[in-house]
């Protein structure tokens, strides 16, 4: 690891750990959205290990997320409400499913790999939605129930007097109570750890091998190296990140629905990574933050909110503007996301990170930071 890497992890940790302080400034200081920033940042980091380093575009990462969530909820139902076993189990399950899929899908590359992963994820979604209803509770979603066995909790005599228990971390409630930040701290600390591990992988000889695969796989095989074991390994690691993220989602809100495995969810992870900057360390996290923030804000604006905001304009103008604007907010917020995405891809192919680099160069810090630039820029094609 270079000193710039330490600087990066330091910056990231500082940003994550101070979020409850600066979050309210962008109307994002409440646990739900901060947890989403951390969890989706984590999954984007894991996705970027695969896509950014090897160039293999997986369109099925939401399947691992879903598997992680279901595993965690089952761990709550069968064993204990403590989040630690749930998180470990969901990470492992994410890896196992990734191993199975990777074994099949990594026989192909390029567009064929993408389509295989997409098909697999849709298959997993259909299974969860209808075929495996006893395991996933279908449309209703897997939830805690009063008659869950919770073997370990019951053996230890931990049982609520009445009603459902809530998830706990070494005895402290994760979800219960008013504005409880424990759930966020767990997500944030794990996201920082995940970021640190990703940095280490990035710098390791294993990471260099992955970049070799991206730049020219044929050359790699001519030198006598088989790329497949490396690809499967990184695919499993990436799946474990997604499984872990799914487990965290369930830990802060013990419910798992098939919706989070739908192909649009997989697409969202790809969008996050590209929006932020493929192959950069910070980019995917930034992309995840931007998309989750926009989702939380834009999707809740409805026509009346827009009309209220434009109330200072004359009636006729106000009406015509609000008709246009309301198409881009509320349920139509994906339209805004699409436009932002197109603008970024056309004008800033390197994502938001490239934009930031151009900005710093414009301001005149270019020379000083040239070494830092090289460290975060995507490896050459």
């Amino acid at each position: 690891m270079r000193s710039t890497d330490y600087l990066m992890i330091l910056i990231f940790a500082a940003v994550m750990l101070t979020m409850p302080l600066w979050g309210p400034l962008i109307d994002a200081g409440y646990p739900d959205i901060m947890q989403r920033f951390a969890v989706f940042g984590l999954i984007a980091v894991g996705f970027n290990l695969l896509f950014g380093l090897t160039g293999y575009l997986s369109f099925g990462h939401a399947a691992f997320l879903g598997v992680g969530s279901y595993t965690a909820v089952w761990s709550f139902k069968l064993f204990t409400m403590d989040v630690i076993p749930a998180i470990i189990a969901s990470t492992i399950m994410g890896g196992v499913v990734a191993l199975i899929l990777g074994f099949v899908a990594l026989r192909r590359s390029g567009i064929y790999f993408s389509i295989l992963t997409l098909a697999f994820a849709q298959m997993m979604y259909s299974l969860a939605y209808s075929v495996l209803t006893p395991l996933t509770n279908g449309e209703t979603g897997l939830q805690l129930a009063l008659d869950d066995p919770r073997i370990i909790d019951r053996a230890m005599g931990i049982n609520p007097e009445s009603g459902l228990p809530s998830t706990s971390f070494l005895g402290f409630g994760v979800t219960s109570g008013d504005n409880n930040l424990l759930g966020y701290w767990i997500c944030a600390v794990i996201a920082i750890l995940g970021f640190y591990i990703a940095l280490r992988i990035n710098r390791s000889s294993f990471g260099i091998m992955l970049r070799g695969i991206k730049s020219n796989q044929t050359r790699m095989s001519y030198t006598g190296l088989s790329a497949r074991p490396y690809l499967i390994t990184v695919f499993v690691i990436s799946g474990m990140y997604a499984g872990l993220a799914g487990g965290l989602l369930a830990a802060v809100d013990p419910l798992a629905g098939a919706e989070r495995m739908y192909w649009t969810a997989s697409g969202e992870i790809v969008l996050m990574t590209i929006l932020g900057g493929v192959g950069t360390m910070f980019g995917p996290i930034l992309g995840a933050g931007i998309i989750k923030w926009l989702e939380a804000k834009l999707s809740t604006f409805n026509e009346s909110v827009v009309e209220h905001a434009l109330a200072f304009l004359p009636d006729s103008i106000e009406h015509s503007i609000s008709v246009v604007v309301s198409k881009f907010v509320g349920e139509g917020w994906h339209l805004s996301l699409g436009i932002i995405f197109m603008l970024i891809v056309i004008f800033l192919p390197g994502g938001v990170m490239e934009g930031l680099q151009r900005l710093t160069r414009l301001v005149g810090f270019g020379k000083k930071h040239s070494q830092g630039d090289a460290a975060v820029r995507a490896p050459a094609e």
Binding site: S3, A13, L17, D27, L146, L164, W185, G330
Partner: protein
């Protein structure tokens, strides 16, 4: 040139973490209840309804009713049911100046008819917008999911439209209240009418929306029709997202069934009924009898969607704008004045729930759920449609008259599509609280 060693980084991170977690520990020790409006100075209700998805028509009508309720509570408009309601034998405690002297505000959210999205939206309301109560529904799956959240966050959830027995059965919660009727009551009300109209020897085929509400309604209708001597040939589950039911409908014709029960709601029901009629099912003779279709849970919005096809089809409904009691009339009048058309049963239940909660706060003299919940439990009220109603304390289920309706043969307008066949008295639909056993949990 390492400016930062690993140790320094770890030390820094640990120190920051420790410093930041201090307020959390202090916070946990403070007393009071979630989102106390007297502390924040702002009273907010959250309305979490499906604005997209198969139940969005119902959701939009619910939202209209909520807006109307907020107006009336704040003393605007004509007051609606505030002029007719009585609680425990007395007039409303609400004075038309908000609740406990505070002006009522509201925020809205979109559940997308998905449990995940609904919980995220509800969490945002509770954690960010500071709502003291939230309401909504249109899917029992969603209602049950957010009711669990309400219990965890200790914020009252007044269910909107949710018809599954589980909502106040096995998934009942101390913080959740349901005014709407349920599948058990539909079965109890509908079965005798069906027997009169179709006879005691029928073979039924169920098509069921594949989630908690569908399962629970299928079970209830099966039980009550089998008690009459009907036979159930088959029960097939259909995914909620289905819009083409033809592959589910064709097997019905070859099954020897002479009654088709559609345990569908919203757009699902509009699609399946329309397609069944298009397949010519209503003209078929099976076992020497006319093939009949039954839609156990009916609503006017659905009848509007299905148009001509609802003629002569039986079902049950929680409330209808055609009821002539003073409460219903007052509500229909103020809703019609504001929006230009009559309200649906979903709008009715949401409107009543909002008034009941606000009135209970006023009665309790505080917003603290520890006092408001016991006020709602066991409450008797009248003048809000359906005659005298009782909020049962053991499972937070309301008991009131249920309407059995039939698609009208000669509707006079687009809103006059259903005729009331029978008003089933409350006593006939009441059941033991342990029939669907559950645990309310702590306050």
């Amino acid at each position: 040139m390492s400016k930062f060693s690993r140790r320094q980084v770890l030390q820094g991170a640990a120190a920051t973490g420790a410093a930041l977690s201090t307020p959390m520990v202090l916070n946990a020790a403070s007393h009071g209840y979630t989102n106390d409006p007297t502390k924040s100075g702002k009273l907010v209700f959250g309305f979490n309804v499906p604005q997209t998805g198969p139940y969005s028509e119902e959701g939009k009508d619910e939202l209209r009713a909520y807006e109307l309720a907020v107006e009336h509570i704040n003393g605007e408009g004509d007051g609606g049911m505030l002029n007719t309601m009585t609680v425990n034998g007395e007039g409303p405690a609400l004075k038309g100046n908000g609740v406990l002297g505070m002006k009522l505000n509201y925020v809205t959210g979109d559940t997308q008819t998905k449990s995940d999205a609904a919980r995220a939206s509800a969490r945002k309301m509770i954690e960010n917008e500071g709502v003291i109560m939230f309401s909504g529904g249109s899917s029992s799956g969603v209602a049950i999911a957010v009711q669990g959240l309400a219990q965890e966050k200790k914020v009252v959830f007044m269910c909107g439209l949710t018809h599954s027995n589980d909502t106040t059965g096995k998934d009942r919660k101390r913080y959740g209240f349901r005014h709407f009727f349920n599948a058990h009551m539909s079965g109890a009300a509908l079965a005798p009418v069906l027997k009169n109209a179709m006879g005691g020897e029928r073979r039924a085929y169920h098509l069921t929306a594949d989630y908690t509400w569908g399962w629970s309604q299928e079970e209830s209708i099966k039980n009550s029709t089998e008690a009459l001597g009907w036979e159930t040939v088959n029960a097939v589950r259909t995914p909620l997202k289905t819009s083409d039911f033809s592959s589910f409908l064709t097997p019905v014709l070859n099954s020897g069934a002479d009654v088709l029960v559609l345990n569908h709601y919203g757009k699902n029901m509009v699609d399946s009924l329309t397609q069944a009629v298009q397949l010519g099912m209503r003209d078929k003779m099976v076992n020497g009898k006319q093939l009949q279709i039954v839609v156990p849970l009916y609503s006017r919005l659905m009848a509007q969607g299905a148009g001509e096809n609802v003629k002569g089809i039986y079902g049950s409904t929680g409330w209808s704008w055609q009821l002539t009691d003073a409460g219903s009339q007052a509500f229909v009048k103020s809703f019609g004045t504001k929006y230009g058309f009559p309200p649906s049963q979903a709008a009715h239940t949401c409107y009543v729930q909002t008034l009941l909660y606000a009135n209970a706060c006023e009665l309790a003299g505080t917003f603290d759920p520890a006092a408001v919940i016991p006020t709602l439990e066991g409450m008797d009220f009248d003048g809000m449609g359906n005659g005298p109603v009782h909020y049962r304390a053991e499972d937070h289920q309301c008991f009131k008259d249920v309407l059995v309706v039939k698609g009208k043969d000669n509707p006079s307008s687009n809103f006059d599509l259903l005729e009331i066949v029978e008003v089933t008295p409350r006593a006939q639909v009441e059941y033991d609280t342990n029939l669907y056993a559950g645990d309310l949990g702590p306050i």
